[in-house]
């Protein structure tokens, strides 16, 4: 037997999900042949000019990861808990139409169609390091709009201290939401001053292309000085609130995941050290993790006087 004939173990172990995904793909293929090639997963260039941002500052060892790696290794539990699954299960994820709601402590609460939400702003490319709490990292060329501009536009009231980001809950489109592996919908939160930091981004694409489903289509949060899980994907609502909101992983395991989740090599996760990371696709975890993921000069002042051991 040639080894190419052997079913990969992960496929074999998850054959039921695999069959479901295959069935879904077949159905979609049938539908697609009637409706034309309107495949959400087809790689589409983003419309309009994309400004290169001066905030894309890389170190000497930072190299932009290959598209294939960025789009086949994803933590997006709504589409499967194995990192290879979202790329398969989000292949036909429909993101049009998409409504984004801004509510709570703002002068202008509103429901937007995604196009209208983005239209007032210029798209920027931001090349950022992304450090996962699991001690691996990538360098990703995001395209998006500064979160700060969005916040300013909706005019938070004096009471607004935090923003809660609520992501899509739709069992029909996100197969894993049938399970109770996380408390759906996935939510995240930022302090208002964090959200107003120039580095915080609402991303709508990668590599100048429309955001693939598995990376958080159609719009997701990117906060480069925090662990990756802070970057909520497929956002449907931004709620401005007075009190610190709970974020999903904190609800799951408060002693492991906090609200702040700032990248910090000196504060270990209970189950692994955060001192070093694997810069994918490196096999060795020999890259030293930097304070605030290397954005210390820009963001450290946000946390002046705070005990980062307690506020992990």
């Amino acid at each position: 037997m040639r080894s190419s004939e052997i079913t990969p173990k992960n496929v074999y172990l998850r054959r039921r999900e695999f069959l479901q995904a295959s069935a879904a793909a077949l159905v979609a293929a049938g539908y697609g042949s009637l409706a034309g090639p309107a495949d959400a997963q087809a790689r589409t260039k983003l419309k309009g000019p994309i400004k290169k941002s001066p905030l894309s500052v890389l170190g000497p060892n930072d190299k932009i990861n290959q598209y294939q790696h960025v789009t086949t290794y994803n933590n997006f539990y709504e589409f499967g808990t194995d990192k290879g699954e979202p790329a398969v299960n989000a292949r036909n994820f429909r993101t049009t139409p998409w409504t984004l709601e801004v509510e709570g402590e703002v002068a202008k609460p509103a429901k937007y169609q995604l196009e209208d939400f983005i239209k007032p702003f210029a798209l920027e490319e931001r090349v950022y390091r992304m450090r996962c709490v699991e001690a691996w990292s990538m360098v990703i060329p995001w395209v998006g709009i500064p979160l700060k501009d969005v916040v300013d536009r909706v005019q938070p009231t004096g009471k607004a201290q935090y923003i809660e980001f609520i992501t899509l809950y739709d069992v029909g489109r996100m197969p894993m939401q049938r399970s109770n592996v996380l408390d759906w919908p996935y939510t995240e939160g930022l302090r208002l001053d964090e959200a107003r930091h120039p580095l915080a981004l609402l991303a709508v694409g990668i590599y100048d292309e429309v955001m693939p489903g598995q990376n958080g289509a159609p719009i997701r949060l990117v906060v480069p000085w925090k662990y990756g899980f802070k970057g909520g994907k497929s956002i449907v609502k931004m709620r401005f609130v007075e009190k610190q909101p709970k974020n999903t992983w904190q609800v799951m395991a408060a002693h492991e995941y906090g609200f702040y989740a700032n990248v910090n090599p000196n504060v270990d996760h209970p189950r692994w050290s955060q001192a070093r990371e694997r810069r994918l696709p490196d096999i060795l975890a020999t890259t030293k993790t930097q304070m605030f993921n290397g954005y210390e000069n820009q963001v450290a002042s946000l946390y002046a006087g705070m005990d980062l051991r307690k506020n992990y």
């Binding site: 173990k9 294939q68 808990t81 699991e134 990538m138 799951m252 189950r271 692994w272």
Partner: protein, 209 residues
């Protein structure tokens, strides 16, 4: 060739295939520069694969005795040591990925890992059990240890439980996979309890007629 010899050869080949497949993927990844040969995180992948196969082979090793009892095919015992050693082989690779890929021989970091992180403590203890069973798996050790050999090798039950706990404790949220292994180990250990109870209780024995 006797059936048992044939089965043993087939089992050897089957148990070696995962290692060969891994090696081949790495060859394609590093020498043929085929980035699709491995996932984006190759180090994590080999840790996962070797760990899974160490556990799978441990479970398969533990099925030899129940199968032998149920079929009365006593020669099956000839597979047991080989399968156990394969489990140890994958466990060794698994442990080495932690030494090299994760900690890159940093002894301080490894000690901190073992002391501070319960899933690694349990994993290391499990590995040490498998190591002690592997080094005493030859006839010489069997003769030297006499009756104590049997007692020592009962630690394989502890190793199986330890391996499942080690898996369970490193999962972030989705416990589906470790749960499946836990059920397998529970059934195999349960069989032994049931068998011992059945052989000791005369009333439970099947009666003639």
């Amino acid at each position: 060739m006797k059936p048992i010899a044939l089965l043993k050869a087939a089992a050897f080949a089957a148990a070696a295939i995962p290692a060969a497949a891994l090696a081949y993927r790495f060859y394609r990844f590093f020498y043929s520069q085929d980035i699709g040969a491995l996932p984006a995180n190759p180090g994590d992948y080999i840790t996962d694969q070797t760990g899974t196969w160490a556990l799978a082979l441990l479970v398969i090793t533990l099925t030899v005795t129940p199968l032998r009892r149920l079929t009365n095919w006593n020669e099956l015992i000839k597979l047991r040591r080989m399968l156990g050693l394969f489990s140890f082989f994958y466990a060794t690779l698994h442990m080495l990925t932690w030494v090299v890929f994760v900690n890159f021989f940093d002894l301080t970091a490894m000690i901190a890992d073992v002391v501070k992180r319960p899933y690694i403590t349990v994993g290391m203890a499990t590995f040490l059990i498998l190591l002690s069973l592997a080094v005493t798996s030859n006839r010489f050790a069997q003769r030297r240890l006499g009756r104590r050999w049997q007692t020592l090798h009962r630690l394989v039950y502890v190793a199986a439980i330890g391996a499942v706990i080690h898996f369970w404790w490193q999962v972030k949220a989705d416990t589906t996979l470790p749960l499946r292994w836990a059920v397998a180990v529970a059934l195999l250990l349960g069989f032994r309890v049931w068998w011992a109870w059945r052989s000791k209780t005369p009333a439970a024995r099947p009666r003639p007629g």
